[in-house]
């Protein structure tokens, strides 16, 4: 069973529907016992980093997630959920993240060439940097759906795949059993579902 963490950040309908369509059992929950008992954890998230980090702290998820990561449980952060895995973010101020993956989150603005729109929104290609079981059902060059204005920095060693948008945008990152996807696999058609399937089989 995959626990999708409900901490009041984001619409979880598509994510749970996409897992169900793959026949994967999942539950949207904020209950610590249920999350601890699950085989895998997904940390979703949309909105602002500062708010989301505060909500995670307020419901005691920070310690729980760190503990689960230490035990080697597969954890997948999606979109803002991926960004929360890093040490800190400079989205409107400086905020501490979970620190499960080395690196920080900064704005695309000022980094991407002029003429490229922000947010980075739409279908972009995955360039695979390393081999990984998460790629079991996809191929280099498959497209995923991105919507974000901030991106992970200083995390080359932990980057499995990146997307080209004037800068190399880390698209899939991994440290131990902790994965992050900057795009929305639950909105990326059959290829996105293929990544979720691979995660469920880790």
């Amino acid at each position: 069973m995959i626990a999708i963490i409900d901490y009041g950040c984001g619409n979880l309908f598509s994510l749970s529907s996409s897992l169900r369509s793959l026949g994967i059992e999942c539950k949207i929950t904020g209950d610590k016992d249920e999350i601890t008992a699950a085989d895998k954890i997904i940390l979703p998230g949309v909105g602002a980093f500062g708010d989301a980090a505060k909500k995670l702290r307020d419901c005691g998820m920070v310690e729980l997630l760190r503990d689960q990561a230490t035990q080697g449980k597969p954890i997948l952060g999606i979109c803002l959920g991926m960004q929360l895995l890093f040490e800190k973010s400079f989205e409107y101020g400086a905020h501490a993240g979970l620190g499960l993956i080395k690196g920080f989150v900064g704005p695309l603005e000022g980094q991407v060439p002029k003429g490229l729109k922000i947010p980075h929104m739409g279908w972009n290609k995955l360039n695979l940097a390393k081999a990984d079981p998460i790629f079991k059902y996809i191929e280099p060059g498959d497209y995923m759906y991105f919507v974000h204005s901030f991106y992970a920095r200083n995390c080359v060693e932990n980057t499995l795949a990146f997307a080209e948008y004037g800068v190399a945008v880390p698209a899939i990152v991994r440290s131990g059993s902790v994965y992050g996807m900057q795009f929305h696999p639950e909105k990326s058609g059959a290829k996105g579902l293929a990544l979720l399937k691979a995660f469920s089989e880790l």
Binding site: N11, F13, S17, S21, P119, G122, K125, Y145, E164, E186
Partner: protein, 251 residues
């Protein structure tokens, strides 16, 4: 780099997709779920659902259909039609919409754009505009293109961007239904003015019209309805054709 997008638009009335040949001759086309599957399988990059129902019952059927589509189709979904308040945003987002498009609702109360952008994020708010030339100027029309509001379309587009709209749908009433190509002149003026993505609507009749649109560099996406519904243009064929002509597409 991100691809250009091809977006079919589905007009839904009482829970069924309809496409009017003209305003009087609305005909039933298909179930939203069947059509959404068909478009998803044929490579649509996004789907737009437009609720043209006026009644309360019709709205309930719409949200049922939307929920079913969102639980089976995993590409971005945009919902428009009858969006006037934050409650309307809430209603469709809970059914699985990713973006919400406001049109007349923003004309009635422009502050809805800013309020929704603050609450749900810019990426969630789409400002849809029906535009027609009046005495050499571009005017915003309301009520499905029937009433001239007198609002200058360029100022309106800029207002939308400044208040937090994440995308603009630019529908040209002048080219809509004519099938002689998109309104490149209008699109050029708007895309020069804003830096958010512009979705072109109105005028697509054949594959070449999309190539012309993207080569002109005046839009990030092309939206159409009848040419896809009536299978005059197949989305996958269209995307292959564009790719062969150096327009990056998700194939």
């Amino acid at each position: 780099m991100i691809t250009k997008r091809i977006i079919p638009c589905l007009d839904v009335r009482n829970g069924r997709v309809v496409k009017g040949v003209n305003f009087e001759g609305i005909q039933d086309v298909a179930s939203p779920v069947e059509l959404a599957h068909f478009y998803n399988d044929s490579g649509a990059d996004e789907l737009v659902f437009y609720d043209i129902t006026a009644s309360f019952e019709g709205r309930a059927l719409f949200t049922d259909a939307l929920t079913q589509v969102a639980s089976e189709i995993f590409i971005p979904l945009t919902v428009g039609g009858g969006i006037n308040t934050l409650d309307d945003f809430d209603r469709v987002l809970k059914c699985g919409a990713d973006k919400v498009s406001v049109n007349s609702g923003a004309i009635k109360d422009p502050s809805i754009i800013e309020k929704a952008a603050k609450k749900y994020g810019d990426q969630c708010v789409v400002l849809s505009m029906d535009i027609k030339r009046v005495d050499g100027k571009f005017h915003i029309f309301s009520k499905g293109g029937r009433i001239d509001t007198g609002i200058d379309a360029l100022e309106w587009a800029k207002m939308g961007e400044n208040n937090g709209a994440g995308e603009l749908v630019v529908n040209s009433i002048d080219t809509d239904g004519v099938k002689q190509g998109f309104d490149l002149e209008m699109l050029q003026k708007i895309s020069d003015l804003v830096s958010i993505p512009v979705i072109a609507s109105g005028g697509a009749g054949k594959k070449e019209d999309f190539l012309e649109l993207f080569r002109a560099g005046v839009a990030d996406a092309g939206l159409a309805a009848s040419i896809f519904h009536f299978k005059e243009v197949n989305i996958m064929d269209l995307k292959r054709y564009l790719n062969e002509n150096d327009i990056e597409m998700r194939i």
